[in-house]
Symmetry: D2
Subunit: 459 residues, 4 copies
């Protein structure tokens, strides 16, 4: 196949979830559609919406962007009082509609829909145990494991079933579970993946990120807490808690790259954290230069912070093609450099004769970085000082992020000096973990295993 | 939605299955594609092929005709040594890709793919029991029930598991089960739905109908017997049997309408049985007429038989539009008569001034019949004697055929004379059940519950 | 590309046209849709409908079947008082939406839509002359040549322009021209391609074949005469005539294969002519046999006639797969025989031990014929006597029919005995031209150049 | 239709053109694909590529983005030595594949493909004159007018024909004309629409903007001059000139909004001009504020310039959803505010309690502007000073830009103070025309009719 994905050198989130508990006549499916639209950056492969009406669940899910999957007649056919939506990014190999979410199942106490963001570290073990008991699996997604557990443990009280399930599963999960008459939000006891509660006109919503609340005109109320189970139904909203230890280990990469800059997590605006990381980056890794530029769009907030702290003016030195689709026909070998050029181009007049600080949010493989340095040099930059507003990624993520294998993680194999040499920069500086944590705030703990190898949950 | 199905007044088969146990380099997926192509009349809504290679199962299924679902690159990606394919017709309401087959699952002893034709009478009960044990269901198809049972009973011996499953399920089923190294064919102990064994170049195949063997150049070996389990693997082909009572209750409607005329079931060619039914129809319900015509294409064989027996010449009086698609834009109320006219037109010169015997294979609702009689009369036919080469359909089918509700079954509500009046024919005659059974041959027993109410399995 | 057309061994019509002059609120576009549906056998590659409302023309055309190209919202957007529709079959190489029809153009006197069936013999010369005058051509269809001529000659009177255009163009053409307020039907002075007039509720329609009138509930009034120009507008229907010689040279192949059996052309029902051809075929080429079968569906009428004349019973010996789509994945070389088997299968019980007369309407290349003879022999037929209800095709058609090159026309290269040998039949008989002409009736003259080489128009 | 375009309050360019004169084996069609990819911002409705090989022209065009229209097999089928590509944006009403470009025609001297950016002011008159001479028009695009003129004037020398055509047509045009052996670039004598020449490995290319050269690894050589005709063929590259007056009237809006910031036109980098406009904007319309933000992405360069000149720090205050597709399901009336919220969101922490300068590149209707001011105020901005880096748009464009009708042009109907009031800003300032022209440089003249009403060509 020549139509390949537009490669980038980033880690990727795997999902976004959104749900509403409303009432008839509120355009529930349409609002869910807009909510998922706002979460599209968390997954572009498939989209789905399930709604409950009169105790019954209907759903539609398909491969594609939110704007491609749904049309007006589908949304019309999905009217209901409660909704549960999902967008999914997937790793190659399990890209099939069967794996799209929400997962909708019938079980002894009715129907439920489940939307999951995260990854279980003991999924294989649980699958194995369930299989030993005769369970069959039709998908490769963890939601199917969780749904089996909930169904088996539900003896009439879904809340109990969820609590018992939490005793079994280990890993990262932000879940929206919808039954015929309830909307339930669950966040794993370590709080690794985000989930927040919004309100509009007295009705509650759940979303991976608060930007979706802004989009639909709702207000962010608060985050679901680690280990908290939020049950929204006719009686209002109630909270229950996992009875084991609960800790704050929100994925710090949500602040670095995954989250939309306008979202608020752990009480902190993501953009502001990124800018602050840029400030700290300058303090740790100053450079003597004429201008600060960013690798757009993800490096811009940190670049602005770097500029503020250093007094070196922030300029745009790279221009992004706003129409890069999800796929394009891959260049042949001899045109390989076009891959980067299709997405980014240098503003020659801006960088010519300048000593340039280029700020990116992270380096994963390092391939794009070298191309960018070369492009700047070819355009006349006299020095290129590469600055990264996070530490080197050295460890794989087991909690739902698609990390390259260790041999492809440049930070796992080379020293900073070796990386600098490889990407042909004049200097290279990474933000320290401490600097990063200072930027994202002390209000909570974070999972930073990809940098530190310090996993909050053992595999 | 304005794009509705092209309505006809027929009962509908719900599925066709096809599978091969071959070896590498045999174009297994491609041959399966041609086999399903030959079985397309058994289901036009979705199509799927699973293949096993190196113990692993890959599959592709989608809504649409066989020719629409697959292209060459998909077939290339499905190369393997064993295959299991399916075409599906579905009732409105559960038309979703999630319900398409083969169903492919992982369970404790590996993977299996299952293609099912038929319907279980105790599916709801089994679902309920399984749900009580914690099972979740993602589809509305019986295959999921069966797959759950097999998985739960499989303690290392799939054959044992299938046998035990047969103890639980009651109803009609012709199954193809594919594991990583076996192809298994199963037919219910009453033998309601057909399944046959073919061979080509020393390799075995399974198919709902023998016409698929002819298409791919194989030979029909024999039918799978009622209650027989055929296991095809590296050691060849072996047969096992359900240990309860086994009877012959092949669905007689396969001979009347479902089966392709060139297929052989129960040792009897379907076309020949239809022609014989026409002979018997004349003997029971003679008419004094100038020509015999058929409602094409399904009434033609019986019309020819009627002509042979009566000496009244067979003529074509109705012409079928060969390009009627599966859907078309429905006429508005005031153009309702166009629905039939789009499909069938009268040959006026042939029927003008003639006393016409019109033979159809069955009458279900009776709506089309009246339109046809009127068309003939409008074209100048002086008498129209309607003859039906099967008895009145009076009872619903519980074994996989989509029967209208009782109030829409004209044979269940009106006497023959009342039906004659309703369809405005000058006379009306149905073949008796005895006449039908004589035509299909005494070699085996049949299920004729839709005519007799005599169900081989209690609901 | 592996998705190739379903090859058959037939000549192919290139187009069908249909138009209505009605009034607002008559569902003009919808009725045109049904009319084109009924003409789908005349062209399956593209479809288009133009309508005039308030003097303006809107249109929609696209690649695909009528049922695929249009949906309800498109038809809604095409409401008007006059319509002009087209279905197109095309030769490989000019299959592009730019070539689909109707051709809609603006010119000095407003807009016009043109739908054309046929082929001009002097198209290249006319193109050359027009190009010399500075005309540019955007398509490869003759309609563009005709539209250019009409536009250049229209000095305020479209009728005059059409008459003058008829002085220039030579060849076969049945045209529907729609202006903002008129529907015009034109048939070439030799009357090679068919065009007929229908009426419903006082409104007039034009159609390539009368079967479309039956479908939409209209009555066939009469054929447009060779060289006649029918102008339908607010003042009713008027006829004008080409002032040069006008002769009857209706393409005889319309009766043999192109036309739908329920259509009436030149006052004669096509089916009846085909049956009569079968009668004559027996008289000229009798056979001593047990049964007469046809190559379905096109050979059936003649087979029935052969049976009537001979007293040998007509039987169905070949079964057609009713779901053969327009395309399927081509078998690889080693599976080549599947191509025919996907479409036709033998009824072994019917032919086994029998001496069989097999009737087809024509033989073009002869490739399928041999396969069918072999299939019959393999199934146990003891003799196969091939009978063709038309003469050998020996000459290419210049009037709109896609004939193979001479080296592929078996009738142009081999004697009847050589063909018999090639197709491995026990005997082979073609109907004589005289026998054919007797069958289609003496009421008019015919073009039979493909048999006789006697072209009504020099190239 | 509920799937509407994602509305914005901007003027829209209508086309981009790209062509190469190369040789076999150079992946001409693929390189053209990448070139069009880089010009995608100039038109998203349809895309097309024509190539010449062996004197013959092949082409493919279709509705959709470049990445949607082409796949590898189409590009393979389009290999040639010369190419001519086009992307098109279209006004509602003429969105049909028939209007997509390049326009490919046959005429007396062979074939030619034509890709056009711009609009003729005398197109209707020319159409009328051509129609009087009998010409028919199949599209509504000006290319068809130009192609007719060229064809009629070409008596063997295409260059002469182009020169003569330039005597007739008045308006804006940047043309790429491809014959079987030549690539020709033409720019109107006023130089309104841009066209530039690039070179790679000794081969020449033409492109609307230089960013496409960067993308494919070529170098910008120079702009085609106003009234220049560049002929590229086997003999190299030669220039010819329109013999009438030639002036510099490049559309100044290319610098304000249309052009990609990394392109160079009239020797000036677009980004640098935008930044300079921001500097001048501050000088003309200072504001006492805490931060400068932009309406992303088009206002960012000017905002940075404003920040530089004022010393007020540049911050990002609005976040853009990077996955806004071309279409989405329109919100119902009661959810209207979602339209803007789907695209842009405020960074509350950034603007809260701040006096904000918000810079946009232009205001057309003003509807989005008010929404943005409200969003900022709702987020806590204490003052919002709106600054626009171009003058009020007061006059329609006749040269290829889709301007709203006069009543929708807020600048044409309201004073600056009235607009300020309408958009609810605390202050509003527009850059003067003088300030704009200073920013884009004195090197050339510009067309600024949309601001000044001073049209370089009379209508």
């Amino acid at each position: 196949m020549y139509h390949g994905p537009v490669a980038d050198d980033k880690l990727h989130e795997e999902c976004g979830v959104f749900g509403i508990y409303g009432k008839e006549g509120m355009d529930i499916s349409r609002t869910t559609y807009y909510g998922l639209y706002a979460l599209q950056h968390r997954g572009q492969e498939s989209a789905g919406i399930a709604v409950a009406a009169g105790g019954k669940i209907k759903y539609y899910k398909q491969m594609g962007l939110v704007s491609e999957v749904f049309d007006d007649s589908i949304l019309e056919s999905l009217e209901g009082c409660i909704s549960c939506g999902h967008v999914r990014y997937s790793t190659i190999g399990d890209s099939h509609v069967i794996n799209s979410q929400p997962l909708v199942v019938k079980y002894r106490n009715g129907s439920l829909a489940m939307a999951h963001n995260g990854s279980l570290v003991n999924a294989d073990k649980l699958r194995g145990e369930l299989e030993q008991e005769g369970v069959i699996f039709q998908t490769t997604v963890d939601s199917e494991v969780i749904a089996n557990l909930v169904a088996r443990k539900d003896r009439g009280d879904i809340l109990e079933a969820v609590l018992e399930t939490m005793d079994c599963v280990r890993g990262a999960y932000a879940l929206i579970i919808m039954t015929g008459d309830k909307l339930i939000g669950v966040r794993d006891p370590n709080g690794i993946r985000p989930l927040s509660i919004g309100r509009k006109d007295g009705f509650y919503m759940l979303s991976s990120e608060s930007c979706a609340f802004d989009t639909v005109g709702a207000k962010l109320l608060r985050d679901v807490e680690p280990g908290e189970i939020v049950v929204i139904d006719r009686e209002g909203i109630r909270s229950f808690y996992y009875h084991g230890p609960r800790t704050n280990n929100l994925c710090v990469f949500e602040f670095i790259y995954f989250g939309r800059p306008d979202s608020v997590m752990a009480g902190k605006n993501i953009y502001m954290a990124r800018r602050r990381a840029g400030v700290n980056l300058y303090r740790e890794c100053p450079a003597d230069a004429d201008i600060v530029i960013s690798v757009p769009d993800s490096g811009t907030a940190a670049a602005i912070g770097y500029s503020e702290a250093s007094g070196i003016p922030f300029m745009e030195g790279l221009v992004k093609n706003r129409y890069v689709g999800r796929t394009f026909i891959q260049p042949r070998q001899r045109q390989r450099e076009i891959s980067v050029a299709l997405k980014l181009n240098v503003l020659g007049d801006m960088v010519k004769g300048k000593r340039v600080v280029m700020v990116d949010d992270s380096i994963v493989r390092g391939t794009t970085s070298r191309n960018l340095v070369r492009m700047l040099k070819n355009a006349g930059a006299v020095e290129v000082h590469f600055r990264v507003s996070s530490p080197p990624v050295q460890h794989p993520c087991y909690f739902g992020i698609d990390t390259p294998t260790r041999e492809n993680l440049v930070g796992a194999n080379l020293s900073v000096e070796e990386i600098r040499d490889k990407i042909e920069a004049d200097s290279l500086g990474y933000l320290s973990l401490e600097g990063l944590l200072e930027a994202v705030g002390e209000s909570t703990g974070y999972c930073h295993a990809c940098f530190s190898g310090n996993y909050p949950i053992e595999k």
